[in-house]
Symmetry: D2
Subunit: 155 residues, 4 copies
Amino acid sequence: MKLPAYIKDFEVWKSEFSYYYPVTVRFSETDAFGHLNNTVPFVYFEHARIQFFKECGLMGYWMDKGGETIPVTADLHCDYIKQVFFDEPLHIGIKVSEIGRSSVEIHYAIKNKAGEICITGRGRIVQVSKETGKSVSWDEHSVESLKKGAPVCLR
Amino acid sequence: MKLPAYIKDFEVWKSEFSYYYPVTVRFSETDAFGHLNNTVPFVYFEHARIQFFKECGLMGYWMDKGGETIPVTADLHCDYIKQVFFDEPLHIGIKVSEIGRSSVEIHYAIKNKAGEICITGRGRIVQVSKETGKSVSWDEHSVESLKKGAPVCLR
Amino acid sequence: MKLPAYIKDFEVWKSEFSYYYPVTVRFSETDAFGHLNNTVPFVYFEHARIQFFKECGLMGYWMDKGGETIPVTADLHCDYIKQVFFDEPLHIGIKVSEIGRSSVEIHYAIKNKAGEICITGRGRIVQVSKETGKSVSWDEHSVESLKKGAPVCLR
Amino acid sequence: MKLPAYIKDFEVWKSEFSYYYPVTVRFSETDAFGHLNNTVPFVYFEHARIQFFKECGLMGYWMDKGGETIPVTADLHCDYIKQVFFDEPLHIGIKVSEIGRSSVEIHYAIKNKAGEICITGRGRIVQVSKETGKSVSWDEHSVESLKKGAPVCLR
């Protein structure tokens, strides 16, 4: 398997995930080829990412109506390694790969029941001002939350 | 074919649609049974209904940030008559069936290329206050717009 | 609250649900009005219904490639009672309301964290032949499975 | 603007698109932040890509039940440049960037009404055997179809 550019050493990379969010493939998420439609992993990425941010204590801050900033997706990549089918129980792994001035690089690893990685991904989230749309530097609390990562998923 | 309760005479009912919005079935809208997933017609209903409201001159009013009311879906019904497949060009028919004090009853008819009705539906939309969530009576302009319906779709 | 036609006595009706499937509202399932988009409950209905059929022992039979019949949605109704927002933990209640010759009437009740019913629904599923598309009578095993319903959700 | 790695010269890159598929942003495709949810461009990519393959004469071949191969998505990237809102009429540009032995690199450019590029993307599609799941070299006809690209969209 040829590795995507964002994975240097697959074994090391895999070992760095400690947060996983569980998802079961819905029938409406399959397509006429009989497997998970290629657009759906991004839905899983977002859902798991938000749960991760929530456990980090960041989501409340962003969703808070008084909050002046929102997280915006700057880019997203997805590599499809192994086909996924209806009703498979998946675990969506999330980790913080790099924290920038106002952005954060998130990596994704989707594992099946057998523990095999079926899908990998990455993407950059930027904190922007709701009013101006311009990027806003993380404050210390946000950086600490991101550094700490999230505890092992409790669900 | 046994008619749904909201259709008295099928031929008369069909003949009352003059607005149709065109849609082509996306691959991501099919499922592993190889046909249009049963959750998708509601997506088509909403999209066509909004285009219809837009052409009636109502949508601009509701989406307008100064507007104090929004249209809320009170209920939705869908009857699946004929299977629909990937890439079928469909026409989503919309008509105003009944105008209430603060609500409107909308009927839906989805036709395939051959002009056959594959899916029918109905639903009630209620105008509510953004602030209180309570229903708000239509003003005269709204009633006139709904009565007039929309011109034949120009797309 | 005016009851939908398929609910005679709300308290009795509510008390008859024993199977609930848990779902958390995804961000991608909200819309620009800030709440759960009206098309999404049908996705929840299907997902929970299939989990229910699986626990009844029916899904394996239908998904089995050797199987000659598939369950097809004949109609679906949804009544929106209370707004639902991002990240709400919901429980999708499923019950068998009536078993026909080749069809089954399913009822749905979506509860929020406070135990309030936010959304109700119903729909008829018909067993059809993959080859002819015509309805196929339930065999005894299917009727028994449907009658028995599913055990209380184990998730 | 920092360019994604797959775009060398933005002006040249933009000028190479001649096929565009039109899409209007559906309300159900927005989210509670009020704009197009980040998972939706991939739905547009797939839909436009398939329409493009269809006009190239490749889609019929793949969907044909007698066909032994199917196109599988190997990876997908998306860069979000400019926010997109409800009801915006978009044009999804598709071009063949590189033809491999059994794969094809596709580029995407989503333009708004003002002709501004809001979203760019790329992804690799691989032709695989339905039976073995292994990659299958393009035949001459497929290469010619891909080389030729599609005529300017007629819709």
